[in-house]
């Protein structure tokens, strides 16, 4: 396995394995900083909005929301789809990028997976809350009917959703935990304190780092990646079926499954950007989560944003092309009706704003990427709002047309769900390694070789002059070869 010198190094500076461990595990062992306390307290306070909003909803019933007979889904399902979408980047990074052998994933996969799990935890609450009677929540799984007149309807995409999301949560959790095992072992071995040693020791499942264990570890990662890859597609596909199997104009369209998946990856990477741009600064991880990493993600955001743009245009095109007037009305109403402000927020945040990433400068300036990532988050929330509310509020029967205004309680539940998400994320940041230490070390050697500072020009690349005259590589056998020699070695592996 060799890597071309033109690739940028994954980790900056020449570090020993010891230094890598210290940099990443250090913050866990130290006392939490003031910044962490402040951030955690703030998130916990915001979480109170969620608790209060949900408590009022449960005591009073969902009548305290702005929903009515025309608009049966509002903030509740918008939030649900939004959070499920956020949860897509983690598995994409850990599973799909693993299969694609993208080594840059190792610096970001841990936190992205954690983020995925917390996002799915947030998302999972909304179907329960929006049904209004959480004490009957166990009806959500399609139980065999000895309870009453209801029979589980396996034709319903809402039932498929239960399977899709719980499978996704379980597989993501297992994937995340398996990756953590060697790192837990590392923390266990480094600490002398009794309680942490016991807890980390318990979760490291007796990890010794033997060859056999590494072998199993690699194998299980690959198997889980294989299992998780279809899940990246399936979850949001089935969420899209919640809408697309209906007959409602603006919901029933065949492009929904891939379009929702692209949008989910887009929003997931948006959130990863938001979190990591802050985290790398606060936790001093700049040499692990480098500008190069942020740039790769910026590119993915641009590509998926443009794919979402193609889907928006395809929908609009087909509404016009089909000659189906109800469909076209919905789209005209989205763009120019009473909710056009939401539509144009969606358009400008999701399709236009990522286009600035065509410029290298934009892709490499963290503060700029942070701002765009906030736009992406806002835009993707509004996408779901636009899809749900604008398709419902003016239906086939003009007499039932209505407008939807969220109440204070709905807004506080939305706000509070961010509190829940960030509270969980800050707990994670304190008690678990933010970067997969073992995996970073595994790729470090491959990607760093031959990339001494004196060979690199300003962009972190090998300079052109050097490239021309001395175009050699070092292979695993630590001998240098020219292309001619390599071409001559025609043996089959």
């Amino acid at each position: 396995m060799i890597e071309a010198p033109i690739r940028e190094p994954l980790i900056l500076g020449r570090k020993s394995y010891q230094e890598i461990s210290n940099d990443i595990i250090g913050p866990i062992e130290a006392k939490p900083s003031k910044a962490w306390f402040a951030a955690f307290t703030l998130s916990a306070l915001v979480l109170l909005f969620y608790v209060t909003g949900v408590a009022i909803t449960l005591f009073e019933g969902i009548g305290v929301w702005g929903l009515q007979r025309t608009i049966g889904w509002g903030f509740d399902i918008t939030n649900f789809v939004f959070w499920v979408g956020i949860g897509h980047a983690g598995t994409l990074i850990s599973a799909v990028l693993l299969l694609f052998r993208q080594h840059w994933r190792t610096s970001i996969n841990r936190s992205a997976e954690a983020m995925t799990i917390f996002a799915v935890v947030c998302a999972g609450q909304f179907p329960l809350i929006h049904a209004g009677r959480p004490w009957l929540g166990y009806w959500i799984p399609p139980l065999p009917n000895d309870l009453g007149p209801l029979w589980p309807n396996f034709n319903s995409p809402l039932a498929w959703d239960v399977f899709a999301i719980s499978t996704y949560l379980i597989v993501s959790l297992v994937f995340w935990f398996c990756g953590l095992i060697p790192d837990f072992g590392l923390i266990r071995d480094r600490t002398n304190k009794k309680i942490p040693k016991f807890i980390y020791g318990f979760f490291s499942l007796g990890w010794t780092g033997s060859l056999k264990q590494w072998n199993r570890f690699e194998l299980v990662s690959l198997i889980l990646a294989g299992m998780a890859t279809p899940l990246v597609l399936s979850v949001h596909t089935i969420v899209s079926f919640d809408f697309a199997t209906s007959l409602i104009p603006g919901w029933h369209t065949t492009i929904f499954p891939p379009y929702f998946v692209a949008g989910a990856i887009f929003s997931g990477f948006g959130m990863v950007h938001t979190l990591l741009i802050v985290v790398r600064k606060v936790m001093k991880l700049e040499s692990y989560i480098t500008i190069n990493h942020l740039e790769q993600m910026a590119k993915i955001i641009m590509v998926t944003g443009t794919m979402v743009g193609i889907a928006y245009m395809t929908e609009f095109f087909m509404a016009a092309y089909s000659g189906y007037e109800y469909e076209f009305f919905i789209f005209a109403n989205r763009a120019f009706g009473p909710y056009s402000w939401a539509y144009w927020i969606m358009m400008s945040c999701n399709v236009f704003s990522p286009q600035v990433y065509w410029f290298k400068k934009a892709r490499t300036t963290p503060i700029f990427m942070f701002i765009i990532s906030i736009f992406v988050n806002i835009g993707m929330w509004f996408e779901r709002f636009v899809i749900i509310v604008t398709s419902l509020h003016r239906d086939f029967l003009v007499s039932s047309w209505a407008m939807y205004t969220p109440t204070f309680i709905e807004v506080s539940i939305l706000l509070g769900s961010f509190g829940l998400f960030f509270t969980l994320f800050f707990l994670f940041a304190k008690f678990m390694p933010m970067v997969a230490v073992a995996e970073v070390k595994a790729t470090y050697k491959i990607t760093q070789r031959g990339k001494d500072k004196n060979q690199l020009n300003g962009r972190g690349m090998i300079s052109d002059a050097r490239f021309d005259h001395d175009y050699t590589y070092s292979s695993d056998k630590f001998k240098r070869k020219t292309i001619e020699e390599a071409l001559a070695e025609t043996h089959d592996h």
Binding site: T245, T254, I255, T314, S322, G323, F467, D468, Y471, A488
Partner: protein, 413 residues
């Protein structure tokens, strides 16, 4: 250095290709005579086969561009094959223009003014379904897609002698431009070329569906070409690991095809609205036209999804030349069937309705598998082999100074 890095088209291959073209041409012309009562059948045979090989050309172009944009390293040894495939692309696009010029009236219902005048739906679509738009899109594709690919090819050939990374970064920019322009216009072109064969029907996912086939076909061909060239002894750098990774992509995109196939079918089946269901009813023999393609339709799913999914599941199957060749040949056929099912019924239905409207209720072979389908396949297959073979022989088989070449040479899965 072993092997001269050059590919000379073997006389046997050249003769075979020319023979295929000649036989195909004769059969094609014969089918115009023999099927003079159903010219739509002949034109749809021409369209299916032209589009089939156009897909291969497009695949070469997008693989190369995606490779540059994504900094792909593993597949650089087969870059010249992709380039050669892309060289065919303008010919396929020119074919679309020619089909439009001479066959439009036999294929596209919306191009007949009398029909549009009596059809409200087609009137509503006239802003898109018109000749200007058809030729506009086709010429855009011909000029812009091919133009950008020409630039890529030029950079690549120049890189062979110049070295350095200048050409790489230039190609990187061209590729990004290509991917954007191609992405948007490909969707529109597919709606125009293929979906509008049944102009009353629509499906927003349709372009993605075709795209998934393009991807699979491309990787299948890369494997076949790689194995062939290796067999000739001129391409020793292509090894099991490249074949393995190509096959992984074949596996992945067969699943992706299945996913898109189900997404379209399930949503249309579930909603069951009359604007959408006729597409499937026509193929299942459940419409008044009575075209019985149901078994072919099932076979299509088995060949395009089921079989490759099961066969390519294990690692070893993707690393054995015999298995890979078997699946590749099967998929070449499967993708043809898929295109046939997409394209053939539309013009057949149109021809049948036109005949009925004119009072002709006699039995004609509006749909089937015979001379036009086989003849044009042979013709385009020969043409494709000639063009790709010629393009391959024009340049060294390995892009010697590509910055990622070494990663590809040392590629190990």
């Amino acid at each position: 250095m072993s092997a001269s890095m050059r590919f000379e088209m073997p006389a046997k291959l050249k003769v075979t290709a020319i023979a295929l073209m000649a036989i195909g041409l004769v059969l094609g012309i014969a089918s115009f005579v023999l099927y003079s009562d159903t010219p739509s059948r002949v034109w749809s045979g021409l369209l299916i086969n032209n589009f089939y090989f156009l897909c291969l050309g497009i695949a070469g172009a997008i693989f190369m561009s995606i490779g540059y944009v994504a900094h792909a390293g593993w597949n650089i040894v087969q870059k010249r094959i992709m380039e050669a495939m892309a060289v065919y692309m303008p010919i396929g696009l020119l074919g679309m223009v020619i089909i439009g010029l001479f066959g439009m009236g036999h294929l596209y219902e919306w191009s007949i003014q009398d029909i549009v005048d009596n059809d409200k739906v087609l009137q509503a679509k006239a802003w898109f379904l018109n000749k200007g738009m058809f030729f506009g899109l086709s010429l855009f594709a011909l000029l812009v897609w091919s133009g950008l690919q020409y630039l890529l090819r030029r950079h690549s050939l120049a890189e062979d002698t110049e070295g350095g990374t200048k050409r790489f970064w230039a190609s990187y920019k061209v590729s990004a431009t290509f991917m954007v322009l191609w992405g948007f216009s490909f969707c529109a072109a597919i709606f125009m070329w293929i979906m509008s064969l049944e102009p009353h029907w629509y499906s927003t996912i349709f372009a993605v569906y075709v795209f998934s086939s393009v991807f699979t076909l491309g990787f299948v061909f890369l494997n076949i070409a790689g194995i062939y060239l290796k067999g000739l002894g001129v391409f020793p750098w292509f090894n099991t690991n490249h074949m393995h990774d190509n096959s992984k992509f074949v596996f992945a995109f067969c699943i992706f095809w299945g996913y898109i196939f189900v997404s379209q079918l399930l949503l249309i089946w579930y909603a069951n609205v009359p604007e959408e269901t006729p597409y499937y009813l026509l193929r299942w023999g459940r419409s008044s036209e009575g075209f019985q393609l149901r078994w072919l339709w099932y076979l299509n799913v088995v060949l395009n999804f089921g079989a490759p999914f099961l066969v390519f599941m294990t690692r070893e199957s993707k690393r054995q030349i015999k298995t890979v060749m078997l699946v590749s040949v099967m998929l070449l056929a499967a993708k043809w069937i898929d295109l046939y099912l997409m394209i053939a019924p539309g013009p057949a239905k149109f021809a049948l309705h036109t005949a009925h409207a004119a009072g002709d209720h006699a039995h004609h072979a509006y749909i089937g598998f015979g001379l036009p389908e086989i003849g044009f396949f042979l013709f385009f297959a020969g043409l494709f082999i000639l063009v790709v073979g010629h393009a391959l022989s024009k340049a060294p088989l390995v892009a010697k100074h590509h910055p990622y070449l070494m990663e590809s040479l040392e590629h190990h899965v």
